[in-house]
Symmetry: C2
Subunit: 340 residues, 2 copies
């Protein structure tokens, strides 16, 4: 159904399938701000001519270990998955590969990229920038993206997967709180005058607070200049096209893929799996329900939702139906699940 909506907008079935998978994966993992709710923006961008659905990305090996990618305005997940497939093959020989992507659309959630690479026995780092929504520590205006970082490391029974933004919260969540009349948690955002606020409507006029105070701000800023330096992409308030339906997307994306077998000369580090188990087994503090490591909750959510089905908001589903030009019964007949 999501695929149908993308195909109807002009995408080939193969690229529509990849983009749809990324949206559904986000909803499955509980990151609904990057889920099917984004479909109308993507279709809107195609219609406006700022997203070229069947783009042919230009991949250039600048050296044995450096892949520069011009995304040609294509779907982010399509461009990045193709580039990473090349990078994994190359990393087996050269040990470390850098992928620097410009001119691609929003990547969606980062975890599937690093998870896929880690499942192939390799370490992956991912950085991407976004429109300026986060204020500097001590500053009043949004100057930094919510710049997420992701990391995948091979482990048993499943790879270690980190995927986190450097803002306290996503703008999607603030908007959702505003629409449902909920107060924000203290520390999430400031208003247009720079005062901390729990009023979601005031926060939409202000900026998101970086996570972790000055250190979190420092990290988000570091990722912004790292990606900017390696992709020549726009920075700060000049970044557009990740949320709107009018501007060409000018942010950048950086991946590093490393084959530990080349680096260490051995097949893998089983100690990592044992160590992660010991961290999970740390005795809990009196106030907590136990220790969770990155990726555990997302994986559990995904398993549960796969069994029980996805609970997409009525708005997302209705919009998707409309974009696909289908009625509810046609959609039911056409698919057995949200991802088809």
């Amino acid at each position: 159904m999501i695929v149908a909506a993308l195909v109807r907008s002009g995408a080939r079935a193969d690229v529509a399938t990849v983009q749809a998978q990324w949206l559904v994966e986000a909803d499955l993992k509980g990151q609904s701000s990057h889920g099917v709710a984004r479909l109308p923006v993507l279709v809107g961008r195609v219609r406006a001519g700022v997203l070229t659905p069947n783009a042919e990305p230009v991949m250039t090996w600048r050296s044995d270990g450096v892949l520069a990618v011009d995304g040609a305005r294509g779907f982010g997940p399509v461009v990045a998955s193709r580039a990473l497939a090349l990078a994994v093959v190359r990393a087996r020989r050269v040990g470390i590969v850098l992928v620097a992507i410009s001119n691609a659309n929003h990547l969606g959630i980062l975890s599937p990229y690093v998870e896929n690479v880690a499942a192939q026995g390799m370490v992956a780092l991912a950085f991407t920038t976004s429109e300026a929504l986060v204020h500097p520590w001590g500053g009043r205006d949004a100057m930094v993206g919510t710049n997420p970082v992701a990391m995948g490391v091979p482990a048993q029974p499943s790879p270690f997967v980190l995927d986190m933004a450097t803002g306290q919260v996503s703008m999607g969540r603030i908007i959702h709180h505003d629409q449902t009349g909920q107060a924000l948690e203290p520390g999430w955002a400031i208003d247009a005058h720079g005062h901390p606020t729990t009023d979601a409507s005031a926060a939409r006029e202000g900026a998101i607070t970086p996570f972790g105070g000055p250190k979190g701000f420092a990290l988000g800023l570091a990722f912004e200049v790292l990606v900017g330096s390696l992709t020549q992409s726009a920075l700060g308030r000049d970044v557009h096209g990740t949320l709107d339906v009018t501007e060409v997307c000018n942010k950048g994306d950086v991946f590093v893929v490393i084959d530990p077998a080349v680096v260490t000369g051995t097949a893998g580090n089983l100690d990592v799996s044992r160590y992660l188990e010991s961290v999970r087994a740390t005795p809990p503090t009196p106030e907590s329900g136990g220790v969770r490591i990155p990726g555990d909750r997302a994986m559990k959510d995904k398993d549960r939702r796969r069994r029980e089905g996805l609970d997409l908001s009525t708005v997302s589903w209705g919009a998707a139906l409309e974009l696909a030009g289908m009625t509810t019964s046609e959609a039911d007949a056409a698919s057995n699940g949200a991802s088809s």
Copy 2:
């Protein structure tokens, strides 16, 4: 004087000079937990035979872009500086280089490594592990190092330099609070039962809290398994030799050096410098004194202390004198500054 103390313990003058520079640089930048106060531990480690002062590190190119380094129990700054010098030369040709170091001693502060690389026009990332001092989010025991991350990005008038630990605070600072009878700030640490505490003595029996809640914990843990996977180093509570004077140091260190000129095909990204200026110029919130970006304070502190002189604690200075086998007047005669 610090050099003299290291030479007296058996180090050659050249390696003693590099190690001394790293200690003094930390004090100059206000990171006294990594400063001259560490000299007695270093000398103690040499005397105990767990640090080989004149070690010859073994550097092996596993591929064109992967340098594996066996530090042979040498001083951390000596091993890492030599490896990075090779990496910078190589990165000009291959674009990206990974340096994976095992069997070296404590690196000291990370900022000089990435700052030096960035001053040569390259991007640098640095990760290192340390003894388990930080508790998992929701867990009671120290299971993760204070695992710092550093990043250097070329910019004008000086490189962008991030250097931060993933704990709220260093154990050195907690010990200092304990010795001077000061209370900790709320949120810095937990006691042995897992309760948040502001009692420095109780915190020494407990664990440091990760910065930024679950996200900061996630990052510190990610760096632990990243470094472990790429260096086959010890993990968590098995890490020793960064604070004690009895154990061989078995943590690992990872650097990534990237030449943006290879990646982008252009000489540099001036926009980064302009962007950083605009972030500094963000209008301040009503409560703040303005926006500082990473490295600004350290650089300012360093300039001031270079003019006014270093204010080392009496304990550090006395210990250094004793280790050098000098009196105060001999030390004054031998040097015009703390770094000689």
